[in-house]
Structures are given as structure tokens and as C-alpha cells.
């Protein structure tokens, strides 16, 4: 049998195993990639033919997701996280060391086909970086010793399954527990309460808790579930003479966690998956869903088997499946679907497209997923932490939760703290906590500023540490990155801007072209070729991308630039080389304050105007 024929048989087999269901296309392609190290044009053709879809549908998906590749990758495919926190922990040095030892260049595959190496967006191991992935499996805390070990294993062609487990050990690093982490829910306890109290009572408890979505935007969870339960109007207009059909409903847990600096969902899934699934099941009961999905980012592949185990155990205990806890008609199950390296798939409508086996391009809204979601049916999409909290609220009551926090932000919030601090990890705080309190707790000193809510959030300077974490002031999905005074604000903005340009889905003009232009412009300034006009341009273009982009990615992509430009104009000006027009202000004079503050007055602290 020739190689092509063999490949076709393997690929067709994978498609068959997925029941030739085109919605599972991404899962199939992940398997093809794993088996054959790439999804070749032949494989794409075979998938398309077996599924009965166009080859463009398959090709477009392969080209969209970072972890799929049309060209062969190494037998061992190594990716090093390019997140800012990994940079700060020396990832670039480690990567250079690794490349040296393997005799390979980033982006290449070694001529013997054994190994390939590339950089990747944040892997979510921010507090135990520099981190990497080998064939998708996470390896934290890369040191030279650990890299030597990896190189040895690669060169000995040791199968990944025989690599020492210690290489893959990921820690939780929970540092501070409040009411959620300190009061874990026993499997089934919340569901028993739901069945005892009934739908309306539990709806009321969730309403009383005033729980808002923990994914960042903070939409009221009870309302979302209520809208989904009530459903779109067309459900009411059944064909005459036919019984009122109940539209299918879906519950989706958003475990994409792509925001650099966020890793709380990883910890919840690693150590509290039961409670997250319990929350999803409560939601399913309230809205009337029979099918749920956990959309797990590809970077958390290492959790996959473990999570399947938790699901299997819950099925065994009667907490999932048909007739949950013996209640007739309470049927619900959860399927895990893996992503494949695309930050945009955290955006809920892009996530749904991805679940349907497509490229992760955000849909036009309205209509919203809550009425027209997965397969066009009413769908609840919530963050991992939201379901985790909802299970606890179901058990302990809405009051229990709402009694802490602030007026508009009730309860507690999990933060993923990393960067320049001595105790990075997970902290649970009631909303309203000040930035300075958090900095004290995590052991940060000489802090220059904090990035709150990840790159899409805000850079807060040391003059703003009295501000509060709450939807009223600083909203956050949980990313909290500390920078001390040795860090360069421009380089931070540059890392984030590269991230957004890389992750833009490319659907709309402002983001597709605008983020690429912002990246080039910032590189120009960072490399010392900027002129005064470039700063004005940076801010104008940034505001344009923010106000015209299709989805949240483009709408926030300029935040790192705009929020640092506003706080540190002098740092940007310091980088400028030439002034190609007569500015309306005295550039050198404007630097006087910076010179006084930094106590330096040497030649480099002055700018000459041409």
C-alpha cells in the first residue's frame, strides 16, 4: 500500500469514528494532525470527500487554527509561550538555548523530521513559566536543566508517553481562599437542592446573588439563563395542529481562557471540575437543556483525560445522563470539545462557530447566542468560574454570596496574579478590594504598574493603586500582571500589540488591517525610527480600531497602546528619533518633568528638534 493510500485510510477512519458529523470537523482535524503530524492537502481532500463537504471548508479551518498545519511538523512539536509573563521569566533565552541544543531555528522543522519548534500565544502557565507545549502537552518552569532533559528525550526518540511525569507537573498555587474556594460543593449536593426546591426558587437564588459573568463583560447570569429559558419568539409559533415543540437548548462552558495572564479557569478545571460540571447541570435544569459542551482550549490538552474521568464518574453517580438523581425527564450530558490555538474562540459567538466545526469568526449580533446560539438554538455561554460560583450559590443561597462585594459587583472574584511578585498564584477576594492591598498580599514591591484584565484590559500606573477591582471601577476577567520598575512600558505594549495582530481573525477591515498597522508602527517606534507624527498616528489609529471593529478583540486591541500612551507620553517621546514636522509643543521641554523625576539630565535625556 503506498503512503498516500495509507494516509487516506487513516483519515477516513477518523472521520468515520466521528460519525461523519461535520460539526465535529475540528475534533477530526486535531486527530489527523496528531496521527500524521499535519493535515496535508491529501488529508484535507479525504476529510472533505468522506464528510461530503467542500475542500475549502476543511482547508479554511486548517489555516485558521494555530495548532493545525498543512505542512508536516516534527515528531516532537515544541512551542514556547510568547506571553509577556513568560518573556519576563526568560522564555526568549530558554528558547534560544533550546534551539541551539536541537540545532533548529524557530519556525523550522529539523531535517530529520524529528522535531519542530515555534512560538505560541499565552499557554496559561503564567505563574510557572517560562512554559512550553510538546505535542500540545504543557511543560511549565523551563530551566536549562529541564531543557537538557527534553533535548535528550527528543534525541533518543523516547515516545512522549514515556517522558517523566515530573516534566508535566502543573501546580495550582492557590494562595488565598474566600467563600468559594473555602466551601467546595460535594458532588450532587447542589443538584439535590435544585430538585428539592424547584426551578423558580433556584432562579430566585441566582437572581438574589446578583452573580455577574466572570469572563470579563459581567453580564447578569440570572438574566442570561432566564432569556435562554424563555427562548426566542418562534418557539411559541408552532405549526397549527402540532404540539408545542420545545426547542433544543444548550449549555456551553467557555474554557478558552486565552487572555494572557489568566489561569484561574485552569486551576478550577484541574482541582474543582466536579463543581464546574455541577454548575452546568444546574443551569441545564433551569433552562431545559439536554446537551452541554465544555469548550477546552487546546493549550489545556493535558487536562482532557482527567476531565473525561470526572465526567465518567459523574455519569456513574447518576449526576449526568438520563434521569439525573432519579428524576424522570432530567436528562443532561456534557461533551468536551477541544480548541486548537485561537484566542478569538473565547468570544462567545466565535466559540459557537468553532463548536460547529468552523473557523472562529464572530457572528453578527443581534441575534445573541442566548436566543440563536449553537445550531441556531438558545444557548447559554458562561465562563468556568461563573458555573463554579453558580453551583455554590445554588447550595448556600444567593444571600450568602451577595453579602460581600460592592453595590454593583456582588460576591468574590478569583484573580490569577503573576509577573513581578514573590507569591504569584490564585487569590480569591471580595469585589471592591484595592490594587494596593493585592500588591501587598502577593509580595510585589517597587511596582511600576499593573495590567488589569489582560492585554484587552488596562495598564494602571503606580498613581492609581488606590483604585478598586469591581465592575464600577476596574472590571476584570481575572488577569493581574505586575510590572516592577525594571520593566519597559513600550516593550509591554509591543508584546500585547503583537498578540492582538496575531490573533485577529481577519473578518473585519479595522481589526484585520488596523492591528497589523499598529504593530508595525509600534515596532518602528520601539526600534528607534519613530517620528513625532507617529505618536499622533498611533493614537488616532488606535481610537479608530477601537470604535469600528466588529467584536471585542478589535475593540480592545488598542487598549495597551492607548492606556500606556495616555499615562507615559514621555516614554514614547523618548524613543523618537527624528521630528519630521514642527510640532505644536516643545518636545524637549515636555521631558523636563521626566528628567526631574528620574533624576537624570544626561545627553540621552534630551531630544533635539529638527
Amino acid at each position: 500500500m503506498d503512503r498516500d493510500e495509507n494516509e487516506r485510510r487513516i483519515v477516513a477512519g477518523i472521520v468515520e469514528n466521528h460519525g461523519r458529523d461535520a460539526h465535529r470537523l475540528l475534533s477530526m482535524l486535531r486527530e489527523v494532525q496528531r496521527e500524521l503530524r499535519h493535515v496535508s492537502p491529501t488529508a484535507q481532500q479525504t476529510v472533505a470527500e468522506t464528510l461530503g463537504v467542500c475542500v475549502t471548508r476543511v482547508r479554511a479551518v486548517v489555516e485558521f487554527y494555530s495548532f493545525l498545519s498543512a505542512a508536516p511538523l516534527g515528531k516532537f512539536d515544541i512551542r514556547i509561550s510568547d506571553s509577556i509573563t513568560d518573556h519576563m521569566l526568560g522564555s526568549r533565552d530558554i528558547a534560544a538555548y533550546l534551539c541551539d541544543a536541537l540545532a533548529i531555528r524557530p519556525g523550522d522543522i529539523r531535517p530529520d523530521g524529528r522535531v519542530s519548534m515555534a512560538f505560541t500565544s499565552c499557554t496559561g502557565l503564567c505563574e510557572q513559566g517560562p512554559a512550553g507545549l510538546v505535542n500540545g502537552y504543557a511543560i511549565p518552569r523551563l530551566t536549562r536543566e529541564r531543557v537538557d532533559r527534553i533535548v535528550e528525550l527528543v534525541n533518543h526518540d523516547t515516545p512522549l508517553s514515556d517522558w517523566p511525569e515530573a516534566l508535566f507537573a502543573v501546580e495550582d498555587n492557590v494562595r488565598l481562599k474566600d467563600r468559594l474556594l473555602a466551601n467546595p460543593v460535594k458532588p450532587g449536593a447542589s443538584l439535590e437542592r435544585v430538585l428539592a426546591q424547584g426551578r423558580e426558587t433556584i432562579f430566585e437564588e441566582i437572581e438574589t446573588s446578583q452573580l455577574r459573568g466572570r469572563g470579563g463583560a459581567g453580564f447578569n447570569t440570572a438574566w442570561k439563563w432566564r432569556f435562554c429559558y424563555e427562548g426566542p419568539e418562534e418557539v411559541a409559533v408552532c405549526p397549527p395542529g402540532q404540539p408545542a415543540a420545545q426547542a433544543e437548548r444548550y449549555v456551553v462552558c467557555n474554557a478558552d481562557e486565552g487572555e494572557p495572564g489568566t489561569f484561574k479557569d485552569r486551576v478550577l478545571l484541574q482541582s474543582h471540575a466536579d463543581q464546574v460540571f455541577e454548575g452546568m447541570t444546574v443551569c441545564a435544569y433551569l433552562v431545559g437543556a439536554r446537551q452541554g459542551f465544555l469548550y477546552l482550549r487546546g493549550e489545556y490538552l493535558y487536562l482532557h483525560q482527567r476531565l473525561e474521568g470526572v465526567l465518567a464518574e459523574r455519569r456513574r453517580q447518576g449526576l449526568l445522563g438520563e434521569g439525573i438523581l432519579g428524576r424522570k425527564g432530567f436528562d443532561f450530558d456534557i461533551e468536551i470539545r477541544l480548541g486548537a490555538g485561537a484566542y478569538i474562540c473565547g468570544e462567545e459567538s466565535a466559540l459557537i462557530e468553532s463548536l460547529e466545526g468552523k473557523r472562529g469568526v464572530p457572528r453578527n449580533r443581534p441575534p445573541y447566542p442566548v436566543t440563536h446560539g449553537y445550531l441556531g438554538k438558545p444557548t447559554v455561554v458562561n465562563n468556568v468560574e461563573t458555573f463554579f460560583a453558580a453551583a455554590a450559590i445554588t447550595l448556600h443561597g444567593g444571600e450568602w454570596f451577595a453579602s460581600v462585594g460592592t453595590e454593583k459587583s456582588k460576591g468574590t472574584k478569583l484573580l490569577s496574579i503573576c509577573g513581578d511578585c514573590s507569591r504569584p498564584g490564585i487569590y480569591e477576594y471580595p469585589f471592591g478590594v484595592t490594587i494596593s492591598r493585592i500588591l501587598d498580599d502577593c509580595g510585589a514591591d517597587d511596582t511600576l504598574g499593573v495590567q488589569i484584565g489582560g492585554p484587552s484590559g488596562m495598564f494602571i500606573s503606580d498613581k492609581e493603586f488606590g483604585r478598586k477591582l469591581a465592575f464600577e471601577d476596574l472590571a476584570t476577567g481575572g488577569s493581574f500582571i505586575v510590572f516592577d520598575r525594571t520593566r519597559d512600558v513600550l516593550e509591554i505594549a509591543r508584546n500585547f500589540t503583537h498578540f492582538f495582530a496575531h490573533e485577529s481573525c481577519g473578518f473585519c477591515t479595522p481589526c484585520r488591517v488596523g492591528t497589523a498597522l499598529l504593530k508595525n508602527l509600534l515596532d518602528k517606534i520601539g526600534d528607534g525610527h519613530g517620528a513625532a507624527g507617529d505618536l499622533a498616528e498611533l493614537s488616532r489609529l488606535g481610537r479608530f480600531v477601537r470604535s469600528t471593529s466588529h467584536c471585542g478583540l478589535g475593540q480592545t486591541a488598542a487598549n495597551p497602546i492607548l492606556s500606556t500612551l495616555e499615562r507615559y507620553p514621555e516614554l514614547y517621546q523618548k524613543r523618537l528619533k527624528t521630528i519630521d514636522f514642527e510640532p505644536g509643543f516643545d518636545l524637549d521641554g515636555a521631558l523636563a518633568i521626566a528628567r526631574r523625576l528620574s533624576g537624570r539630565d544626561d545627553e540621552n535625556a534630551h531630544l533635539t528638534q529638527t
Partner: protein
């Protein structure tokens, strides 16, 4: 039955339930600049040229549903400036050599630039290297000029029933891909008479051997502004769809 109203630039405009702001405007003879929108197809919402302000927020007129009491701003200096920027971005993203392009004078991107008073590209050019496909006997695909409006995708799928095109890649590396094992147009069932071969608003998909049939200077947008041409063509389509 009286229709509900929204306001565009202070003027009351009637609409029917289910219409978008774009459709309501077109039916009322008001032009909102657009490129990826064509009333013959499902709205797409990608180019963002049709950005309007609805009750203070930027929205795409081609996809946003019309609703009672909306206060829509369309023809304002701020919005036209923003649309000019969108047009500039599209120009620098590809390789648009208008003077030597057969589509010159019939091109909506070029006409939008004129309509919006764009006098330069403003941004540095990307000069992408994109593959040109001349394999088909009757149709030329020059990816350099593609603006990712997906009109050809929609036309081929929804009108021709052939699914010849799709968008591949991601972000700035997006590209138009062709549905055949070789990826070449020659190996698809597309014909020069197909809607997909004639719908491209720019010069990315051209029917061969038709070049310069109408001399430059006498072409569509040499004689009409984009606004006039759009309304004349699209008003009847919108009317027939929603009444």
C-alpha cells in the same frame, strides 16, 4: 397600517419589521456607503464602511436591525472621516494599481475613495505577495485586489450553487481560496456567466477578454457617483424584498 419610524440625520424614515438600517435607508433613497453589502445577498458586516452612529454607538448599518425611535447619524464629518480611513486601510492592504487596472472606473473601492474624498493612502503599503490564478480559460483571479467582502463566496454558494470560493488563513494573512483539489480556478465548475464571476466589487475576479470594452472615461463611476449608482441599482431590489 402606519409604519414605525427611525431617524437618519434628523429625518424620519419609515421601515418594516425585519429591515436593517441599510435597507430602510436605501428604500428611502438615502445612501449609506458600503462595499461588502449588496442587497441581493445575506448581509455580511465585514468591511465596516457602512458604520453609522445609532443612539451614540457605532454600528454596521448593513446588519443592524432597524428599530423604533433609533437616532441614526450617517452623513457626518466624523463618520465620513472614519469611512475614509477604512478605505485607506483596504488600499494599503492589497496592491491596488488603479491606473493599470481593468476595473478602473467600474470599481467600487475606487469609487468609494472618490466619494469620500480620499486623496492619498496615508498608511504605509503592505505590498502583500498573493498568488494570481490565471488558470481558468475565461476568468482571472487576482488576489492582490481582494478586499474580503465575500460577495463571490455568497454568490457562488447561494445563487450559483457551486461553492467555488471561501476565505482561508487568518488575520492579515487571510486569502481567498478556491474549491478544487489543486486550488486552481480551472478545476472548478465556475463559468463566466456565473453570478460569482460578475459580483466582485473590485478587480479581483475579472472575466477575461472583456477588458476595456467600455473606454475609461465613459465607465460607471466616471459618469455617476457611487451613491447615485448604488441607489439606482439597489432601491428596486430592497423594495421588492420587503413589500
Amino acid at each position: 397600517m402606519t409604519k414605525p419610524f427611525l431617524q437618519i440625520d434628523g429625518k424620519p424614515i419609515p421601515y418594516t419589521a425585519g429591515q436593517t438600517i441599510m435597507e430602510a435607508a436605501t428604500a428611502a433613497g438615502i445612501y449609506i456607503p458600503h462595499l461588502c453589502h449588496n442587497p441581493e445577498f445575506e448581509p455580511h458586516g465585514s468591511c465596516k464602511l457602512c458604520t453609522v452612529k445609532v443612539n451614540g454607538r457605532n454600528c454596521s448599518a448593513c446588519t443592524f436591525p432597524a428599530a423604533d425611535g433609533q437616532d441614526v447619524l450617517n452623513d457626518t464629518a466624523e463618520l465620513n472621516e472614519l469611512r475614509r480611513t477604512v478605505t485607506q486601510l483596504l488600499f494599503v492592504e492589497g496592491n491596488h494599481l488603479c491606473p493599470s487596472c481593468e476595473k478602473s472606473g467600474n470599481c467600487q473601492l475606487q469609487a468609494a475613495a472618490y466619494f469620500l474624498g480620499m486623496v492619498d493612502a496615508h498608511f504605509p503599503f503592505f505590498y502583500p505577495a498573493r498568488e494570481l490564478d490565471g488558470s481558468h480559460p475565461d476568468i482571472l483571479l487576482d488576489r492582490d485586489r481582494c478586499i474580503f467582502c465575500e460577495l463571490c463566496v455568497r454568490a457562488s454558494r447561494d445563487v450559483d450553487g457551486k461553492n467555488v470560493f471561501a476565505i482561508g488563513g487568518r488575520g492579515i494573512d487571510s486569502r481567498l481560496i478556491v474549491n478544487s483539489p489543486s486550488g486552481k480556478l480551472a478545476d472548478t465548475p465556475i463559468a463566466a456567466t456565473d453570478k460569482a464571476a460578475r459580483v466582485c466589487p473590485v478587480g479581483a475576479i475579472l472575466v477575461k477578454r472583456r477588458g476595456f470594452e467600455v473606454p475609461i472615461g465613459e465607465r460607471l463611476y466616471d459618469r455617476h457617483t457611487l451613491a447615485e449608482e448604488s441607489l439606482e441599482r439597489e432601491e428596486p431590489i430592497v423594495e421588492s424584498r420587503h413589500d
